[in-house]
Symmetry: C2
């Protein structure tokens, strides 16, 4: 999931706000769901199995499959039907760290916490090497370093300033912030965002634009190529401005398709260690390091898999109609993806458990989707949507498209639900307002016309299906856990996860029992580039 923005954007809107509908809500069932979700929760047990027990869940890594198989087995054990690992198309290689030891050995010894970026190669045994500082603003300046990289550890002369934390890492939305979201107005229609166009890609484009035609990106790419060709040991990267206090943000180190070669070893450090090495080396003090990194690629099966399971509908007229809940199961590699997105996966599994435990016989089918490959571009949900509902490059849809009610997603960390984003679907406002009413005392009240992006509900939205994501309290998502080594079990908040699972179970139940499907926005236009991966 992309970094949270505190300012949401407004999406296409083609219909005026509907007046409040009169939803039929089963108050007794809402009470039962609350009781099961808040008093008999298993959400932390599920989260433990997805994090501590599975390890990181980098797509197609052994940890991903441990978690996927656990999810399949747990759902089955609760009586959820047809749980399976469902192929969504070719993803690429899995990757796993088998050893990482990084230390400064001169001018003195210091062990470092450093994370190889995903899909990088290793060092082929422990190497001792001197650090070389590269000061090059463009590829021409890089020429000066040609022939000097063999056996070296490379650091770019790009320090990241430390900013002391005079604001809290963790916070919840204030009443004022929620009121502002609720008061957002529909904007003029515009094309919905391409679901493959994640924040990471947008940021890269912006950075390339800001640096004049990809100068810095070209420097980085060329430097890695030189480093690999000349036999350098590794590149040191600062994990960026959020990588401080021992928290290190690290993602992928390059391409991972079946035919792609190993990427040159790129080590993410905390900014303090990065800056220390840089200051020392620039002061003329030789810095030596020991590095021993071993990585393993998994390329026997390049297919990607989601986890799918369902509670079949029972109403003869409606049982072929489908309500979905879900979140992505994959994570980055440095932590165990607790808030991104074991939290979302755990609450969705728990919602299914709550509904099965209560023995509900839903009119429509309630299906769970735990998506793979979200972090690399929503691949799992996009593949599932393409295989199941239609192709966004042509907007040709399947019969299942007509029978789909709605999809509800969680992927904003551990914070409890404060409301829901309508993604510009004004007709859903009255419905969701009434559905939230029984949970007002739990802090979930806000319905905003605004759009939120960067995760799997967009895959449904892109083909004209109602796909929603809830508003969650941000807690410390951007500051500490998102794509970092601190995205681990202890950073979850039990009470918040219980609340989320309870409300999601209620929404799934309401959507399954409601007389009509959730109203839809206008069908988007075909997007010929929509099928690309990156």
């Amino acid at each position: 999931m992309r970094k949270l923005s505190r300012y949401t954007t407004i999406m296409a809107l083609s219909l005026p706000f509907a007046a409040l509908a009169q939803e039929k809500i089963d108050a007794a069932m809402m009470q039962k769901i609350r009781k099961e979700g808040l008093e008999n929760s298993k959400v932390m047990e599920i989260a433990f199995n997805l994090t501590d027990k599975s390890g990181n869940r980098l797509m197609n890594s052994p940890g991903y499959f441990r978690a996927a198989n656990y999810a399949k087995d747990a759902l089955t054990s609760w009586g959820v039907s047809g749980a399976k690992l469902d192929p969504f198309g070719e993803f690429g290689k899995g990757w796993e760290l088998e050893k990482s030891y990084v230390a400064i050995t001169a001018p003195y010894y210091k062990p470092l916490l450093a994370f190889p970026k995903a899909w990088c190669g290793g060092t082929k045994g422990q190497k001792s090497a001197e650090v070389i500082v590269i000061s090059a603003k463009d590829t021409v300046a890089l020429e000066a370093y040609k022939g000097k990289l063999k056996g070296k550890i490379i650091i770019l002369d790009q320090p990241t300033d430390y900013k002391h934390s005079f604001k809290p890492d963790a916070f919840r939305y204030t009443d004022e912030e929620l009121a502002k979201m609720a008061a957002e107005q529909p904007q003029a229609p515009r094309q919905a965002a391409n679901p493959a166009d994640t924040a990471a890609m947008r940021r890269m484009r912006e950075q390339m634009a800001a640096r004049g035609g990809g100068g810095a990106a070209r420097v980085g790419a060329l430097l890695k190529e030189m480093a690999k060709n000349e036999g350098a040991i590794a590149l040191l990267s600062s994990g960026g401005v959020r990588s401080h206090d021992g928290t290190i943000f690290a993602q992928g180190g390059g391409a991972y398709k079946g035919t792609d070669p190993e990427n040159f070893l790129d080590l993410a450090l905390g900014l303090e260690d990065f800056n220390t090495i840089l200051r020392l080396a620039k002061s003329g003090t030789p810095v030596k390091m020991d590095v021993d990194v071993k990585t393993k690629f998994y390329d026997k099966d390049l297919q990607g898999y989601n986890v799918i399971a369902e509670i079949p509908g029972t109403d003869p007229a409606l049982k072929d109609e489908v309500v979905m809940i879900g979140g992505h199961l994959d994570s980055w590699q440095t932590g165990t993806g607790a808030t991104d997105n074991a939290s979302g996966s755990a609450v969705m599994m728990e919602a299914m458990r709550i509904l099965k435990t209560l023995g509900i016989q839903p009119k429509r089918t309630i299906r769970i989707g735990l998506w793979g490959g979200e972090e690399q571009g929503l691949h799992g949900s996009r593949g599932y949507v393409k295989n199941t509902f239609g192709d966004i490059s042509t907007m040709q849809t399947t019969p299942a498209h007509a029978k789909f009610s709605s999809y509800f997603n969680i992927d904003n960390g551990t914070g409890k639900i404060r409301g829901i984003y309508l993604q510009g679907n004004a007709q859903a406002k009255g419905i969701f307002t009434e559905w939230l009413a029984p949970f007002k005392d739990l802090g979930a009240t806000t319905v905003t016309i605004a759009n939120t992006g960067g995760t799997d509900h967009q895959s449904f939205d892109a083909i004209g299906l109602p796909g929603f994501q809830f508003i969650q309290d941000p807690i410390e998502y951007n500051q500490r856990t998102h794509h970092s080594n601190m995205d681990v079990y202890d950073h979850l908040i039990e009470e918040d996860l219980k609340q989320i699972a309870t409300i999601v179970a209620a929404f799934a139940y309401n959507a399954a029992q409601r007389e009509a499907k959730i109203p839809r926005k206008e069908m988007p236009k075909p997007r010929p580039a929509g099928g690309r991966n990156f």
Copy 2:
């Protein structure tokens, strides 16, 4: 330096508040000091040399001597006289980490950041071992584990809950907080605290009392003894409630006198890693680890050394009188002691540089003391005071005692000076109020009768000499840097250090030029236990 307390205590007071004296302040000199200190500062260069360049400065380690020799040479290069490493008495062994590699290898691979506590032994090569959980509330319960520890890595069943940071790590004193300090009232006289009685010792006593006669402490001690005897590999410790987000607090692992044996390897982890290992092991999942720790002891010279240098006085009647400024130079081992206390050492050196650069010819001698062994009990300053001014066990004093004016200390991190603690010395109130006046615009205004403890000014105070410490903005001292791996150069604030050095230089100058020495409190009573170390 001990953890900061937001609530200061009031010390013995034997005299009523003095009326504001009429201090003669050399306004032109104050301006020159400001200009040199704020515009031509070398404080960050000094700090770089004490931190990045020297490494950690654990007492009697090679890093300590690198820093001490740098300080001696830098002071000499600025023209400060007689710079030397000055022995203060027997301290004990030095200790250094030569290798530390710690990783989980089952149920999956994960590299861990873990710090061996100081003065622990190593593993004699890389060891692979299974984790064993010890659940023992008393020594009787420990019996059940006898004979089971050989080749094991031990974890006590004592998780530390993670608390999300809903308050900022960093903060400055508000006007209200400063006003409250300024309004503190003198309290009834009581015996001054024993300078060897640090917060760490008090905490230990409190914990032992709370746990019923040292139960937990006895369990810990006995467990380490069993572990060593049976041939266990290491003990895992949570660094405590502040050890989260990758920040790890770690101090000493046991005794370090020349005759003490190596301590059993005690590894401080962040609470997230500690809890993950504990949860996994308790769930019945075997946890295996690779640990390779090599440590080195330095026992050729057990003597401890301070760094002493001075600007000799020039007034025939006053040149034998001495004003001192200082702070401790030693640090703990996981970071580079940037805020505890390279900051204090750097500003004191910079204050001397400012005064020499301005070519001052002080009436009294201005001497700097950079203390060793503060972290283990103010050993350096206590030894210096004992050797120079007298023995607190008898209160027999030397002639130098009579000729001493005052000592000013910095040891509360990187935050700028907001005022000064009088340590109960009401007669100094008017003097310091006037001395601070030229720096009102820099935020330094508060004079409080209150005492602050835990560092080297107490060694002077204990023998009846005026010893003071400044009030500093806390910034993130307790939350992030104090005794942690994040106590590194990047966490220093340049503007604040410049301000401190400037004000300290002014205070040193004023104390040297003032007609009389700083008035004293009543002489304390002899303290027969005052000489003990721990």
